[in-house]
């Protein structure tokens, strides 16, 4: 249960990391 929840949270962190990287990339492309 805890392992799965940790996995889920790590997946969320990975998702947020991708979103942040892409926002920075798009900002650079638009500037």
């Amino acid at each position: 249960m805890i392992t799965r929840l940790t996995g889920g949270l790590l997946a969320t962190v990975a998702g947020i990391a991708v979103v942040v990287i892409v926002i920075l990339l798009v900002q650079r492309a638009l500037s």
Binding site: G7, A11, T12, A14, G15, V18, I21, A29, L30
Partner: protein, 577 residues
Amino acid sequence: MTRRGRIASYLALAVVALCLPAAASAHAYLVKTFPAASVILTSPPADVALTFDEAVEPRFAIIEVFDASAHNETTGAVARSPANPDTLTVPLRHVPEGWYLVYWRAISVDGHPVQGYFTFAVGPNEGPEPQFTPPHISQSATTTPLLIARWAMFLTVMTAVGLFVFRLLIARPLVRRVRETELRSVSIAFFVACGLGLLAIPAYLEEATAVDSLRSFFAFGALVPLWRTTAFGRGYLDLWICFALFVFAAGVAIWVDHPERPHRSLASIFAAAGALAAAAALLAIPGASGHAAQTAPRPVALTLDWLHMISGSIWIGGLLGLLVLWRSLPVARRVAGLVVSVPRFSNTAFVSVMVLLGTGIWASVLHLPVLAALWETSYGKVILIKAGLLALAMLLAAVNLLRTKPRLVAARTRAELGEPAARLLRRLVAGEAAILAGAIFAAATLSSLAPPPPAFAEEGKALAQVGPGKVAATVSQEGYRFQLVITPNNAAAPNSFELVLTKGGKPVTGANVTLTFAMLDMEMPNQEYQLTETKPGVYARPNSSALVMVGHWGLSFNVAPKGVQPFTVLIEDHAAG
């Protein structure tokens, strides 16, 4: 479609795409050279310096200086000038009097190769300019292996994202509604697509770097350090990192998901949200490192490209997911399984196709300066091929939506309808997926070509098309007669431009005539020159080196006769090498 038929259609598409003329593509352009083009120096230069409008990577650049007997006169490697990061220099040996040809090739920050050449002389006894044969290296970003690598990358990444959405959101209820079914094969197909995508992205990056730096694909030691030197390379490296993070998040989301339970667990919701956010975000990267980021209005172009990628991914991934499901379901449960999955996918696919169509049309409008560019440029022709393939896929999708889906739904009460409908569905879906894979190949080709420059819009207004070779043409406008002579009309060489202006058979004297050169094949700054009246009604500019490269040029003569409203005469000239 049979397997053989599918392979044949892939080959046919590849042949069509490869037969298309390669287009010049560029975003970096040369703004200044030392020595200047066609100049005659009094002493030999110590080096040749080329200044671009942006910083270009010296490790990708070539500058060669040839004498009349094609002997290379450079003595060292191309380096960045310490004084100006936009300038590249190459040292020269102490050259004797005579004419020299400078050939250069560089890579724009967006990964597109550009090249050109010009001549200069060392005097005072330089003699007549010899007929140089400039070296030619493919200028195109569309070599066959590169296109295939790009296609493989798009196909695997889009399929992985689409299969994930299919597994997690579309096919999930199947397990609860139909006994003895599972989604393991869809998950396996997803992980296979992920594995291939994780290989395809660096393979594409390696091949693109190899093509740009004129090295072998297997020169890993030399090429890998160059991956991050262009904005293009950095963009795809970021795509690789983001895709790997998505694969991790999606893997967790599938691992913690229990489709047999009516409600999702907290872990499952977290993981699914993370993976879906990663999937959506990473599909914006190709646009941010491609043409969309350079097409005004850029926020609109980027959003269109992003939505286009998302909708395309859901469509292709869902189709492949349905095929995997068809094959993996036990025969006794196949129809029941499809009855659950197909209507759910049909609804999603319908929305996706509409978004794909809308964003595709809108993006084409943004990228093409005039409608004629659709059939007159390589870029436009690939759009037509892609649109044709999508139309074909939509036709099959329409049959599925209007015929197969209602029959599958009806099979809930009339079981005999189920089996034939399932068979038809498999054939149509396989055909649709193969055609879509072809459309993705067209998209990979399209994004490798440069969109036509804004100056292309002027082409339709040209009064005459002239060249290649010496030009002697006569056109009339506003009651004036224009006799145009261009000699020898060669690119990268001095040319004489002469305009004889008459009205009612009499020379028009004292007019102010300027000539603007616009490159029609790629984006470059325009050059403008004043023509001087050498004889009554004869306006000329001798020895101009304005036609700096081979291709189509828009020559705008802005004529302002004394006391009369000025007007413009546009001639399209083809300058050969």
